[in-house]
Symmetry: none
Subunit: 231 residues, 2 copies
DNA sequence: GCTTGAATATCGCCG
DNA sequence: CGGCGATGTTCAAGC
């Protein structure tokens, strides 16, 4: 990522034509070639930008531009469309480059985390007599969403998804294999819990002796709200 | 505007809950207090952000965070809602501040300018036999969008708008009054061209003997593309 | 000021 | 890869 703070003007052509009069701005050049032009206010949206895939060519100003103070002309061309962003750079106040690496990305823990929280609080949904051991029960291959004790002995491992797909069943299967090696927990039964369980996932789960549990998010929130009002 | 490149992790709560695992990112703090967290890829949208109005408070990490390597904790709180973004900063690789001043902002010369360009290239849309005199034909009260020669003698003045409103008809009327005083051009007929013409504008234009011409932007672009392919 | 609709929308899911 | 819907949407125009 390259960060440039400079006096600049820009012209964009693509779906529309637009231009930015000369002003001091932040120019961000990302590793994928995309470019953002940011002012010191507004929302997260840049004044102008070019989305990837695109390429940046640094050129020389012509005589007229040079006389006006332009030191560099950047042409950012989209690889697939004819979208083009041309930036005239005047005085450059800052210019630095940074290695950032690949980003793990944003994790939205909205619904899934909330479902885990709610199911832990309403552990009886697994069946009468179950007790919570803990959420995010650690194993060598990652934490299990919920681990509970079954009333008749043995344990229950729960994998929670917003949408229950085959991947989730596979994940739970790996956990179960590991957990069942632990004599303090064994036998460990599996519960695949989700707001919506795909037919293929249900077939696979059932075939492996895993119980499917469809979670009614609104109903669970309702119970939670009632609890909250009681205390 | 402050630019920080640092190892960081973040948590956002507001309309949803989300978190960013630790990674090296760009943190932009704008003059209005808004904050952007950018990775080295993706689109112009930040991984996470806080929109203005908001305030940034820099705090100390607690013992546990300090042991994990956190050096600063930034809390960005929205002024009107309970939206909050908390950023844990680990190693800081870059930190600089820049005065940018007020930005004049983006000027969209998109559709109207493009329509003028396209109509000039497809001047036959005014009727068979018309020839272009010039775009932006200068008058004492400003340039007329397009001036053309009519096949039977006389001229045609065209006012182009994206959305044709009464104001545009008034504008064209003023131009026509002026242009008709010029014996080299007279008689000058008026054409009011727009992607969409409001009923009131159409009534006024018709009443004044001005022709209304609805422009099909996509079709005109299509013709333009065909031309481009031929050359 | 509120409401409505477009956006260089972006983003994720589903077929 | 194309289509559809949601977005912490943002943004501008109309009323």
């Amino acid at each position: 990522m390259r960060l440039v703070v400079a006096e600049c003007a820009a012209r964009y052509t693509g779906r529309l034509s637009a231009h930015l009069p000369r002003a001091r701005r932040l120019v961000v050049v990302k590793a994928d070639g995309s470019v953002l032009l940011h002012s010191d206010g507004g929302s997260y949206k840049p004044l102008n930008w070019m989305s990837p895939p695109c390429s940046l060519a640094v050129g020389e100003p012509d005589a007229e531009q040079r006389a006006a103070g332009v030191t560099q002309v950047w042409t950012v061309q989209h690889a697939k469309t004819d979208d083009r962003l041309v930036i005239d750079l005047y005085e450059v106040h800052h210019d630095s480059a940074h290695e950032l690496g690949v980003d793990p990305g944003l994790v939205k823990d909205g619904v899934e985390a909330h479902l885990q929280e709610l199911l832990a609080a309403q552990i009886g949904l697994l069946g009468s007599g179950h007790t919570l051991v803990r959420r995010e029960y650690p194993t060598a291959i990652g934490p299990v969403d919920i681990l509970a004790k079954a009333p008749g002995g043995g344990s229950v491992a729960v994998e929670i998804k917003r949408r229950g797909d085959i991947d989730g069943v596979e994940q739970l299967t790996r956990y179960l294999e590991l957990l069942n090696r632990d004599p303090r927990l064994s036998p460990v039964r599996g519960v695949f819990a989700a707001q919506e369980i795909k037919p293929q996932a249900r077939v696979l789960a059932t075939d492996r002796g895993i119980t499917c549990l469809v979670l009614d998010y609104d109903a669970m929130r309702g119970v939670d709200d009632v609890d909250a009002r009681l205390f």
